[in-house]
Symmetry: C2
Subunit: 485 residues, 2 copies
């Protein structure tokens, strides 16, 4: 139920909505953030910067989305980042071969299987097009990268399917110029693109989506010498072991070898502390170690950070130990040297990554903050104040008697420092409800008493309680209440 | 000279560098922001949000970069956003027809001329390929949008050539749900893509670039009733009239009809006040009104905001009065209604836009902040403290005697609130120079006296003067000095 409620709220309150929705040919899998969604997203990103990038002294870069074909020759995406598809001979509908076969025949064929295997099963089980009952053509591989042609010569390039590829190819210059030492995290926020065959569920499976990726370059010989480990050693992780979720501290996870080394344990801890501050209920989270067949082709050890939602367990972050897969591959194709000196010993760094889906994280924040307060006939988004799209609503009780002017005056003082929303019209109760629905933690109301004693009421979103405060104290009150932790 | 100096600084200090530079086939016109550049860019964007979006109560959205083909049928880009090109029959090199003809024969043919006209001139003037002396094929139109194919059916869509198209197609939903009134600005920061034939000069002509666009939807009948005009009426604009740059206030520009109405004058004033805060020398800026042939196809009145740099006058913002061009066009193709009620009268809004190039603005900030201080044998980037990639360097005078530990302790306290850079190694003078080159306004140094009396020295980038301050006062000192104006 909640997914639909969030969807409706998103459409009506400016969180998100389909891209190009006024056009009939608009392709699926593309969504827009409206003013509330963009504000929430920007604040989420700032929190990510504070709690991960700055806290761990990472380097944040911002690279091109269109990248050279050779990058994806090296990364393996050009050959391996493809889904098996089957096309109906008659109506030309296209399906993921593995998914359709599993749905119809319950036979599970891994997506990486030989194409023959799909064709044999389609034939043996007489699988036909669910739309028109037509027969299928032979299975094909469909690469999920979007090709773009550069210049009048139409030279091939691709929209990146993950932001981290910029980080790998930029690493030699960064390490040479930025004066860091291993382990060093390099971070990037940006769009990635995947030509999904069946995009669905709004923000949950998009063709164009936001990632926040962190690639930690490390010395594989000193993974247990993580100095900063003590910062997070008592942070609790929910580790899934043999289908059971077991809470344990980072230290316990490391010492019991549930995670392979101190460095990985440290970054899982940082990630957990970040998510605690987003307002997501981390008691409903788990780190799930992926089996050999589930892992991406570049990962040697992988944990998915998943959170329980009404749509099921949702993967928010892929935590992959990519070893030297990427640097070795790029080194081979480009002839660039990726070895660095670490304590005067030459080493080819390994990479541990935290690959975060921003859109899914925002959906989860909305779902976990969503509350139906039936007693008071309202819907409330109990967002963390520092993530709220609107920090404070500034309302006049009535528009006349000079109250509107006084309200505008207060608004003017607040508007560059806070996300303030000025609202004069409609019943005050309805205006409060609307602020509750966008998660505004505070509403300031100007009434007749304001003109006499320079006080306003301030109403708290969650408790609905109100107090009167002096206008000159408002700034201090808000700055304390909406600042990042 | 300065362009090359900035380029070198950019490469060596992590501002920007070519994308995929380790690969030989990397296409031109794509650049990456390194850690210094990304930090500067993020801060520039935050300033833009404060001084334009929040100040003027705009709605900021974040839309898809891949958009439906019909969007560009309606916008005119599919038919009109094309350059005339000629291809050498022999070596297959491609040139902009108008540019090559002008270079070789000094004959100026407008880029929008009929293709015949280029062919005739090529033939009459016997123009040949400058690379191989081959003859040219007939001129063709080359559309500058990047096509992407969606799904296994390869349905056509395009990477947006300007961010504003999302704003236009989203307008009906936004106006319905967000409770605004005309005039209302809708803003967006994001990537746009243009398949330039000759990308050049790093950030100045890119194929993938950042725009910050603001589309102000307004009632064409009340353009002179701009209430907020008084906020900027005394702000000085440098208006170019008959090739002469004349400083005048917004009020003078409006009253003398140098700008067509109060609404336009107001937004030019806001823009000017924003750029004053970026550290760009606005005394070297001008608003240049474009002639009929220079304007984009959708503009009825257009001013370019240009700033003088060593590469010439650089267009940073296109200020276009687009009238009802866009809403009418999208209305026709989509059948969506774009009329809104304004004071109970139905009206089709007009649009005035401020289309800002972020990359060029950042280049200009760097160039205008760049100072060679020969007396002290250093290069200084005198960036505004709130835009500096590094707010403060935190240095130990020497590493031993417990100074390193004390330095780390101070760094730990500062690192989430400020962009702090910890640096232990190398001569202190060299470390200061490096901080000057990334524009860090302050350097804090921990020395032996620190261990005795809990004070540090703080060094000012521009004056190189130093003072001692108590460690507990550092936070207050910095928060005052690096906060946004």
């Amino acid at each position: 139920m909640k997914y639909e409620q969030i969807m409706q709220l998103a459409l009506e309150r400016g969180f998100y909505f389909p891209s190009c929705e006024i056009y009939s040919d608009a392709p699926a899998g593309f969504w827009e953030y409206g003013p509330s969604g963009a504000s929430l997203k920007n604040k989420f990103i700032e929190l990510w910067r504070r709690e991960l990038v700055r806290r761990d002294r990472m380097w944040e870069i911002d690279g091109s989305q269109v990248m050279s074909q050779l990058v994806f020759v090296a990364s393996g995406h050009l050959s391996s980042f493809a889904d098996p598809v089957i096309t109906c001979q008659k109506c030309k509908s296209v399906f993921r071969a593995d998914k359709l076969i599993a749905e119809i025949s319950s036979i599970v064929i891994p997506e990486s299987a030989d194409l023959d295997q799909f064709d044999r099963t389609v034939s043996e089980k007489a699988i036909r097009c669910p739309k028109c009952r037509g027969n299928f053509e032979n299975a094909k591989k469909f690469n999920m990268m979007f090709r773009v042609g550069i210049g009048p010569q139409d030279e091939p390039a691709y929209l990146r399917p993950e932001t981290c590829q910029s980080i790998f190819v930029d690493f030699p210059r960064l390490y040479k110029t930025m004066r860091g030492r291993l382990p060093i995290g390099v971070a990037q926020i940006g769009k990635s693109f995947r030509n999904e065959i069946s995009p669905r569920q709004s923000l949950l499976r998009l063709r164009e989506f936001y990632q926040a990726e962190i690639e930690v370059f490390c010395n594989p010989n000193t993974l247990d010498e993580m100095e900063r480990f003590s910062d997070v050693e008592n942070t609790v992780l929910y580790m899934m072991i043999d289908d059971v979720i077991k809470p344990m501290t980072c230290r316990e996870a490391y010492e019991s070898k549930v995670v392979p080394n101190k460095l990985v344990a440290y970054y899982l801890g940082l990630l957990m502390e970040f998510y605690q501050k987003t307002g997501i209920d981390t008691g409903r989270s788990r780190f799930r170690k992926l089996g050999e067949k589930e892992k991406a082709f570049y990962a040697s050890v992988a944990f998915d950070f998943e959170v329980e939602t009404t749509t099921g367990w949702l993967e928010l972050v892929a935590c992959n130990y990519r070893s030297d897969y990427d640097l070795t591959s790029h080194g081979k194709v480009s002839k660039e040297k990726f070895e660095v000196l670490d304590d005067n010993v030459k080493v080819l760094p390994h990479v541990f990554e935290l690959s975060m889906g921003i859109d899914r994280s925002l959906y989860t924040i909305l779902e976990h903050s969503f509350r139906e307060d039936k007693e008071n006939d309202r819907v409330v988004l109990s967002l963390k104040p520092y993530l709220a799209p609107v920090h404070v609503g500034i309302l006049s009780l009535v528009k006349k008697d000079g109250l509107a002017e006084k309200t505008e005056e207060i608004f003017s003082k607040m508007k560059t420092r806070y996300d303030a929303f000025l609202d004069h019209s409609g019943a005050i109760g309805r205006r409060y409800r609307r602020l509750d629905e966008v998660g505004a933690p505070f509403a300031v109301t100007v009434d007749h008493q304001t003109l006499q004693d320079d006080t306003v009421t301030i109403r708290m979103r969650d408790s609905m309680s109100q107090e009167r405060i002096k206008i000159p104290d408002l700034d201090f009150y808000l700055s304390r209440s909406v600042s990042y932790p």
